[in-house]
Amino acid sequence: MTEILDIALLSFMIVLAIAVSRMQNLFMAAMMTGIFSFLSAIVFTLLDAVDVAFTEAAVGAGVSTVLLLGTLSLTTREEKIVKKNNALALLVVLITGSALIYGTLDMPNYGDPNAPVHQHVADRYIEKSGEEMGIPNIVTSVLASYRGYDTLGEVTVIFTAGIGVILLLGHIWRKEDEQ
């Protein structure tokens, strides 16, 4: 059952992505991107990544849609009509894609418990993190405790991005204050 759902949802995501790419109306494209993010959140849930799923639903579908709509309100809603396809870009993308698909032929099958990724440190976290950290959610204990410095680095990245946005757009608010 989950296999059918997985295939159906991923196919739907591909269709949506093509639609978003071809759409001239940017407002509709932004909303469709939100739907695309929600679909990916459902796929993450099917793949047992519940923490990733709710972050994607909140941040990917929520915040990024709001940011896109905000940008559209400050710029334009319609994309200029492009008639010809870019043959060179298509060629580059097809070569990259086929090389990557060729690479996946050596990958372990979906859900294979003997895949190399499951053979190293993951078991240690699954066995020990409960007693070492005292919280049942392994993702949380790795994120906030074992790799806490990485999360601190992530906060630094967001802080830097925030400063960048304020520097770039601060004059809009100043203009509003003067009026």
Binding site: I4, V20, L47, G60, Y125, N137, V157, L169
Partner: protein
């Protein structure tokens, strides 16, 4: 019973190709950033697929659970999602600034205006 096999990886690659094409070929700057976020989602899906174990559950400890999916790709991707939104917001802020300065957010028109100004 349908077997997924390698389908998930192929779907990720197709999504990646759509995102990359949108980012390269579309002249509209907002559309380029949307393409970039499609590209990002495809990478997230690839990592999460790798972490899945058949018959496993979400990596939250509980009584009587035999197998858990691998929690480490989940941690990596949680960080990547949040960094992705930071880069998207900075990119969109740049688009707004470009829109103010050039009065357009189409790449070819911006280049034309640059040539005229020179």
């Amino acid at each position: 019973m349908i077997s997924v096999g390698l389908f998930n990886y192929w779907a990720c690659m197709v999504l990646m190709m759509i995102g990359l094409y949108t980012a390269i070929a579309r002249p509209n700057l907002v559309k380029k950033l949307i393409g970039l976020s499609i590209f990002q989602v495809s990478v997230f899906l690839l990592y999460i697929t790798v972490g899945k174990v058949s018959g496993g559950t979400a990596p939250i400890l509980g009584e009587g659970i035999e197998a858990y999916s691998n929690p480490l790709p989940h941690v990596l991707i949680l960080t990547a999602i949040v960094v992705g939104i930071a880069t998207l917001s900075l990119g969109l802020a740049l688009v707004v600034r470009i829109g103010e300065a050039y009065d357009t957010i189409e790449e070819d028109e911006i280049i034309e205006r640059d040539i005229v100004n020179d």
